[in-house]
Amino acid sequence: MGSSLNKPELIVNGKRHDGRGFDQLRPLRIEAGVVKNADGSAYLEWGDNKVLAAVYGPREAMPKHIADPSKCIVKCRYSMAPFSGIDDHGRSGPNRRSTEISKVAREAFENVILLNDYPGGMIEIFMEILQSDGGTRAAGITAASVALANAGIRMKDIVYAVSAGRIDKHIVIDVDMLEDNYSDADMPVVVAPRNNDVLLLQMDGGLSTEQFSEAMRMVLEAGKRISAEQKRALEDYYKMAKE
C-alpha cells in the first residue's frame, strides 16, 4: 500500500480517478486458443492488464513421486514478465508474492477441475502477466479459467475472479494499480458462478459487515459480465474453427 501522506485523489466529482463509476469494470476482452503448442490457452486484456494463460495436460506427473493414483495433480504458475511494470512487486521471476498467488490460484482450480477423471496425471496452468495495472491475480485466474475450458479439461464451472475495494466509504469494483496502492481495502474474490461458490477470498485493509456484503453483491453482479465475456471468447474460438 502507498503512503497516506502522498495519497492521490481517488474520487473526483463522485467518480473514480479514471472516470469510472463505482460498480464499473475496466474494458475486458478475452481471446481463446492463442498459443498453438498448448492444449488450451487464452489472452486477456482487462484495462491495462495484459495476461497470457496456457494449459498443458493431463500429462505424466513429474517428478513421478508426486503422482497420485486416485486423482490428478494441478500445478499452477503465476509469473510477471520483467517488463510488465513491476515497480511495486520487486524482482521478476519466482518470489514470495508469485509463490503465494500460484498457490491460491491452484487451490481455486482444484475445486472445479474433476480431478478424479485423470488419475495419476498432472495439469499445468501458466499465467504470464505481460503488462500489469492492478488486479493481475484476478486477471490471471479469469484467463486461466478460459484456457482450461479451451483445453477441454473436465470441470464443474468456468470460474472468474475480480477485486473489490474500499475508497473512504465507497465500495468499488475492479480496482486498478493506483486504487490498489492507496485504497483503504482491497479484496480479490474467485467465484464459481453456477452456485456462486467463493473459491478464494483475500483481503487487504478492513471492511465492516455492511461494506463486505455490498462488496460481495458488486462482485457477483460484475461476475455476470465477466462470465459472459469468457463464454463469448470460447464461442468465438469454436465458431472460427467451424468456419
Binding site: E60, G120, G121, A149, G152, I153, K156, L234
Partner: protein
Amino acid sequence: MRKIVFPGESLQIARRSSCTYNDGKGVCSSAVGLFDEERASLLPLEGPWQPRIDETVVGTITDCKNYVYTVNLSYYCRALIIGSRYGRQSDFEIGSAVEAKIKDIEDRTVLILSYPRALPGGILVRVKPAKVHRIIGKEDTMVRQVENLTGTRLVVGANGVIWIKGQQDGIKAAIKAISLIEENAHRQGLTEQVKVILEKEARPYTRNREQREGE
C-alpha cells in the same frame, strides 16, 4: 437442434452421460461441447482422451523387459503388452508401431493391451482425440473413403494416433484430408466435402491404384 454449452451449464437430461456431472441439483456439462437436445447427448469440442475397454489404440513400442512391452500411446498412463500371452506374434522391435485393443485398465492408471498387431512401415500422425470419431465416420465411412481416394491404408487409434501407409503422394493427400476433417469436425455433410476435395486432388493416386488393380 444443437447448441454450444459450457462447463457448469444445466442440461435438460435425466441421466449422466459422458462429459457431464451431477451436483445434486441436476445434470450439468463438464466441458465445452455441442448439446443435441433431441438425442440428449453432449459432444465435447475439445478434451483429452479417456480410455475405455475394447477401444483400438495405436502407438509405438518404447521398451521391452521380460516380454512385457511398454507402448507410448501419447497419453500420460502407462500401456503394456504382456508378450508372453501372445507367443511369437508379439516379437516387436523397439520403435515399431503397433495396433492393439484395450483389454483392461489396472488401478485406473495402467492400460493392459491385447491383440497386438505390428504395423510395419508407414507413418504416425497425431490428431485431437475429440475428433477421432469424425475421422472414422459412421460405420467407418469416412476412413474408408480416405483410404479409397488416396490409395493408402489407415489405422485410426482412439488415442488420436493414426497410422498411414501408402505411396508418398497418397500419404500427403491422406494427411491433408485428415487435417481438413479435424478442423471442420463440427460441420455437417463432411463426408461429401472430403470426397469432392480428394477427388480433385487425389485423382492421380486412385488412377494409379486402379491401374495396379487392373494389372
